[in-house]
Symmetry: C2
Subunit: 146 residues, 2 copies
DNA sequence: AATATAGTTGACGTTTACGTAAACGTCAAC
DNA sequence: GTTGACGTTTACGTAAACGTCAACTATATT
């Protein structure tokens, strides 16, 4: 049980926690944390975690979900509703709904950020004026920004 | 000490905590919290906080700072460097620098958000396709979103 | 006086996504 | 037979910006 059980090289079937951690640019602590939260459930060899390709896939999904701003809770639900055998219709509509919600949130955020950016740009311009004119601001400037 | 000390109506000189809380749409607890953090320092009449117009101005600044995404710490520094008597030059350049930093952060955030939005829009489109075609997704869909 | 109203302090709770140490097991290599 | 790398569990810590609650106090009105 050595050369035969040992995996070849690149298209692995099993992965260690650190391998996946490195591959995805997170710490193993993070991956264990996801397990705590019920997002992954690797096999065990004794106590050591053994990750399958499927587990790896789930991790990929989790990480993308995070990038897209989903909470781990939402991601869990999406994954949970996926696993059953047959019709993933429920899961699909759920995911779709969550995606749409998130999309709206992001758009709202973008709006906010755009406003903040405008305000800041204006403020910066005014600050520069004051600094250039050596203005002895007494009480008027703070109204601009701070 | 009633009709004379009582403020007239609109261009007040003193404010209670709840007045300001309502005006700015925050709870009084929040305002006290800001005081804890050293952002405001209202007078006291006994134990009761009395906010001056200046305090109110500071609150305004604080709230705008929050909207612009500054941390309370940064806001505090901006405010702190303001109060001294003379040249607010130091404060101005500090504030300016912070503003520029924040502007960059916000722009970076906007970029991230825009990417996320694109990804989400794509994902949503694909989910819709699958749902429309009644696709019996086995393992391919989850690669899309979840 | 007693209730009502507003205000205060202090301390702990909340949320999210992990970090960080402690203390120990396991396995291969030297 | 020890070293070192990697792994495990348990559990408390962190950061930000408040919320919540309990127990008082102070003032005003009934």
């Amino acid at each position: 049980m050595n050369a035969s059980t040992k995996i070849d090289k690149d298209d692995r079937v099993q992965f260690s926690i650190t391998e996946l951690a490195e591959e995805f640019g997170v710490t193993s602590r993070t991956i264990r944390f996801y397990e705590d939260k019920g997002l992954v459930n690797p096999e065990r060899e004794g106590t050591t975690r053994i990750y399958s390709r499927k587990d790896r896939g789930r991790l990929k999904i989790i990480l993308r979900g995070r990038r897209l701003g989903f909470s781990l809770q939402d991601i869990k639900k999406m994954l949970d509703m996926y696993s059953p055998k047959g019709e993933p219709t429920g899961q699909l509509t759920f995911t779709l709904q969550k995606c749409e919600e998130q999309l709206e949130k992001l758009i709202a955020q973008r709006t906010d950020i755009n406003e903040a950016i405008s305000e800041l740009e204006d403020g910066i311009a005014q600050l520069r004026e004051h600094l250039a004119s050596g203005d002895n601001v007494a009480d008027g400037c703070k109204k601009t920004i701070a």
